[in-house]
Amino acid sequence: MKNIFRIARWEFVTRFRSRSFLFNTFISPLLFISVITLPIFFFQYQPEVSTKLIGVIDLSGKNIEKDLQKALNHYYSPENRSREYVVMKVSVNSSGPYREMLSEYKEIKSRRDSIARLYEQIKAQRAAYYKNTKIANREYFLRTSYEKLQNTREEKELTDMELENFKTSLDSVYKFEALKMADSLLITNVLNAYLLFPHEFTKNGIVEYHSKNPGDLRETERFEKILQNIIIEKRMMDDHVEQAKVHKWLSPIYIKKYQLMPQGQKEWDFYAQFYGPLIGVFLLFMAIFTAGGYLFSSILLEKSNRVIEVLLSYANSIQIMGGKILGLGSLGLVQVLIWLLLTALFISSGIIPADKISYLTLSNALYFIIYFSLGFLFYGAIFISVGSLSSNEYDAQQINQLLRTVAVFPVLLSLIVLAEPNSLWIRILSYIPFLTPSFMIMRIPLSSQLITTDIYVTIAIMVISILFVIFVAGRIFRVATLMQGKKASWTEIWRWLKVG
């Protein structure tokens, strides 16, 4: 029995000193974590891919584009990014028909203005006649000026009507020309979209959104939200609500997201929640496969340099296997503890903000250690079997490569846990011993309640499978380590398992 500990100590000490252990403990997790967290920084500090140009056709004459730009800047241009939207008034000044009509309109308008002036003059004059009673011919002047006034008013009303009519047709020409212009800008991809504000848009609340794909809900929802604000603001202004009040009433509303957790509620942070357990799963598998890989190479080396025969003559196969599992398992545990300790050190020194890895509670760390141990024993026994069956270094390299590739699957598969940690499918999958450690490490911090039953069930399943694989590994180990050169066939392996 003592030999188990002696062998364990030897395996532990010789590996602990090795350069590869240093690398696996410090360098590769660092590499991995930087690879996985880089996209976050990239995502946060990258400027927007492109600025979107939004056209505005304003038939209301309320200079809406200024308000729109302001609102868009406010919501969608955080300080360290360039503006996401630029608003541009669609100009029709270059169009011939509109220019012609505009000059005609101006002519009519100036005519109306002069009539209006004249009318005012006459009115003022008549007022003077009324007040001044000493004027000669006052009666006559009053009468003739009244006629003049009547005539001018009539003329003024007529020109007003003419102007009104002309304005409507000018507006429709403007609209027509502006739409033509905007559409061509849209087609040539100069504009991403344009908005058409009708004359009375504040009253009926209708704004047109033109774009190549109005089905883009993200965009339309944004504009809906912003225009809602602008229009409401305008309506309030029209009702003469104080500016200060308007701003107070319209101050933006944010939704903070919280997740219900057994230890109370906490704020949901996508990256922390997502990357945290994922990094955990990856490190778990790194620890398992580092230790497992040592187990594998240790057996293989002893087999190929024939130390195994000396060992077998002084200790029995159970002691050798047990010692290796114990020694290298402790090595893996030490690795895990080093990581936990480093993390704690980083948190306390403020290098990692504590809220970013709040999932790493003491009990979660304990589960981590439990599932590491179970995973290591399970995969370790498989490594032993494979190690004792492979006959040369080259084989071993390939098998090791294969095992490492296989190890990626539980890690990748565990990503699906993210969507719904406690759905039936995920639960069933986490009962498969190969996936149990990675799935459970993902599920425990992501679940809103402690999944006690599943923890017990998976631990039970793991223990049973471990006993089974160790039994198999023991039989294979005993027979296969003494074999040399030739590979064992499946029927041979089957016979060893039966006979022992």
Binding site: K2, N3, E309, V310, S313, L482
Partner: protein, 306 residues
Amino acid sequence: MAQNILQLKKVSKSFAGTVVVGDLNLKVKGGEVFGLLGPNGAGKTTTMRMIMNIIRPDQGEILYNDQPRHKIKNLHFGYLPEERGLYPRATVLEMLVYFGTLNNLSARRAEVEAIRYLDRLGMVEFTDAQINQLSKGMQQKIQFIVAFLHDPDVLILDEPFSGLDPINQIVLREILQEYKQKKKILIISTHQMEQAEQLCDHICLINQSKVILDGQLSRIKKNYRENAFFVESDDSLEFMQEISGISIIEQDNNSCKFTVAEQRLKIPVLFENIQKKAGIKRFEIVEPSLHDIFIRLVQAETEGGK
């Protein structure tokens, strides 16, 4: 002190249906060098592995001082495997201490013993060297130390002569001598008959999983001596094949080694018969080598089988 005895009783082992060791009976007494002889593939290594409890016999039992082998602790046994193996990356002393502690030596005791042996083998300055930096000869010495560092009661050396340089051969002899004096069990295996002849007191010859000869070396030699002769001539000795009553062991054109099979055949008569046909340069009684005995026995066996 009662004599140490290691016994194999009707031990058999087969791999995948092929019998490698069949009904093997051996009795090894403490204080004698026991040689397990036979060609490659005879089953020597398998037998030794069974004695070391690395593999279990299919049938039969192995007893050491009347106790079944699998009930005795491994630390009473020391083993030099046929295929040598050391940890290439470890340093000499730490590895020796490791193997020593596996046999229940305390770390301190193992260290003292290891240094003592290293000193004796003239390697004390290499205690902290890495194994793979040592020469082949030095690695061999280390391998030997691994076998007897813990002072086992039974020492089993599988093909100890293979690849052994002359200096190490002397060392080996010395150690065997020591074990002999302590009346411990000593088993060596070899397929080189000459080596065995020089070293062993007791011999067991195995061929194709069966014992074909077992006994004290001196007695065996005596048993096979009387009738073996060697004749050398300048003329051709081809005709000797026609002489009845003798059986030829080895022959080339000018010399012949033979035994007299028929008791009635008198040596002087035979001598004259030969002299009539060829001029005898030399005619002598040969001390048969183990090699000859082996060849003869194997021949007899195969003929008997026909």
